[in-house]
């Protein structure tokens, strides 16, 4: 079965099914639902490769990552979600001494980040009938 990741990243494939998540809301939910052990093993695998991955995705202009590389970029974005918990919170899956995360809403939380430009001030645009 073909993997989600490009050829040179097959060693990260064991993490792909769980962590190639396109939106911040999905990444946050996955981080909260993980164990400290899972967060540490994800961090240990991705962190040494992150510079290389970012160079790889920078071959494409922002917003124009082809489908072949979107999972790789989303995997890299999961490191932004997981790194603080491993580096700063001793592996705790929750942010310690904090508000209930499920009650804090992110207006941009469902944006697919490989699509490029992040939330503009008037991001939620619905045509009036």
């Amino acid at each position: 079965m073909a993997g989600l990741l490009p050829e040179n990243y097959q060693d990260l494939e064991p993490f792909a099914a769980d962590w190639c998540l396109d939106t911040q809301d999905e990444r946050q939910r996955k981080r909260r639902a993980s164990t400290a052990e899972q967060l540490r093993s994800f961090y240990a695998a991705i962190s040494p490769r992150i510079s290389e991955i970012l160079e790889e995705v920078d071959r494409f202009p922002i917003g124009q990552i082809p489908p072949s590389h979107r999972p790789l970029f989303s995997l890299a974005l999961s490191l932004t979600e997981v790194a603080p918990n491993v580096e700063l919170y001793a592996g705790s899956p929750a942010v310690p001494h904090a508000f209930e995360e499920s009650r804090m809403k992110a207006r941009h939380g469902d944006e697919k980040n490989w699509a490029g430009h992040l939330s503009r001030p008037n991001a939620v645009v619905v045509a009036s009938s």
Binding site: T80, A83, A98, A106, G116, P121
Partner: protein, 402 residues
């Protein structure tokens, strides 16, 4: 000298009129006090409800709920480029013109016209009534010219839209902001065109939220994990401007960056913890161009805090829903990333910022419960909690006035 030691009590020395005694907790827990605040603060003060760049094109609108004054306000860009503000209420039978999907609802009206879903009355973006089905069947008391949407007093400062719900605002916005408005003037707010909005409904008085974000004393303890060594724990250059206030927060001498943060900081200017330049700061912000300047924190009475630094600005707002219920909104603005790696770095900064705000909001409901327990009749503020003391004094001035 006066019992003060200069270093420890410098703000009390600078602003002796604020006093130094304990502060009673009544205003945080009393429904009666809240009722007075609604009438004498929120129906009289200028309230920041949005930015002109949230409605860039003709027909764009933002609907802002102001539960504290039982109102819903439409901010709308007309075909002539003007910004307009009116109550979200149809002149016919007071139905809501635009159904909200939350505290802030954004949209674009086709042909810059708003139609009421109930009976089809149509208004242009200036609020003029332009179409009424079966118009001839109304009586002599009806006049299309007089049945426009009800206008709301609004003014724009540095791209921020403020409204005033008084029948006649006591002052202009410029006079209301005074020296505070001049202090932040010239900062290029619109250049940071990438915005993250977080919000939460908190079971606490709005001032509990405001207090928690209005001092630097808590940085070392509450944010000790998320911001290791990042900030100096004290405030600098405190200035009170009438009802408003500003201070500078400096970076710590020895911040400890994690490997991921160090990489992110090398790619994008999106993290408050990194050292910044000063190319976009107006001369009155960080006037000595000190390299340890972290950010400027400016409180605009009653419920807005604006923070600016190189490449980043952010706001916190506290919208009362009841005496013990508050909608908090945190908005963080940076420049749009130009590359995928910059986008990655920006999202790392965003994640850390969110975590810090989770730590901040985590205190608020517990503080409210402590206040309501009756265990303590008053609060103790130290010298760097000068904004809390100032806010208390300003609030007293407003609530004492008719």
């Amino acid at each position: 000298m006066d019992g003060f030691e200069f270093d420890n009590h410098r703000w009390a020395r600078l602003y002796p009129e604020l006093g130094t005694g304990p502060v009673p907790i009544h205003s945080y827990i009393s429904p009666e006090h809240y009722a007075i605040e609604i009438e004498r603060v929120f129906r009289k003060a200028w309230l920041m409800v949005g930015r002109v760049d949230e409605i860039p094109n003709p027909g764009d609108y933002k609907v802002k709920r102001l539960d504290v004054v039982k109102s819903s306000i439409i901010l709308m860009r007309a075909k002539d480029g003007s910004v307009n503000a009116f109550h979200n209420v149809c002149s016919h039978r007071a139905n809501k013109m635009i159904s909200e999907t939350g505290n802030e609802t954004f949209g674009t009206a086709r042909a810059a016209l708003l139609a009421c879903d109930f009976h089809g009355w149509v208004y242009d973006a200036r609020g003029n009534l332009t179409g009424v089905p079966q118009e001839a069947r109304f009586y002599a008391c009806f006049s299309k010219e007089k049945a426009g949407l009800t206008k709301v007093h609004f003014e724009v400062w540095e791209g921020f839209i403020f409204v005033n719900l008084a029948a006649e605002p006591p002052t202009t916005l410029e006079a209301y902001l005074g020296a505070c408005g001049r202090h932040l003037a010239g900062y290029p707010f619109a250049d940071m065109d990438c915005q993250f909005t977080y919000s939460a409904e908190l079971r606490c008085n709005w001032k509990v939220g405001l207090d928690a974000f209005s001092e630097a004393y808590h940085l070392g303890m509450l944010h000790g994990r998320s911001l290791p060594g990042s900030f100096s724990n004290s405030q600098e250059e405190v200035q009170l401007f009438g009802d408003h206030q500003t201070t500078a927060l400096y970076l710590g001498a020895a911040p400890r960056f994690t490997p991921t943060a160090a990489l992110a900081n090398s790619l994008a200017t999106a993290s408050l913890m990194a050292r910044h330049g000063a190319s976009m700061l107006p001369p009155q912000i960080n006037p000595e161009r000190r390299p340890e300047f972290g950010f400027e924190m400016t409180g605009v009475f009653p419920n807005t805090i604006i923070h600016v630094t190189e490449g980043i600005w952010f706001t916190h707002q506290f919208w009362p829903l009841a005496h013990d219920k508050t909608l908090w909104q945190g908005k963080y603005y940076v420049a749009q990333p130009k590359t995928n790696s910059q986008l990655w770095a920006t999202l790392h900064a965003q994640t850390i910022t969110r975590n810090i705000w989770l730590e901040d909001t985590g205190t608020m409901e517990q503080t409210q419960e402590g206040l309501e327990s009756g265990a303590k009749p008053e609060l103790l503020f130290q010298d760097d909690e000068v904004f809390l003391r100032h806010n208390f004094n300003v609030l007293q001035k407003y609530t004492a006035a008719e």
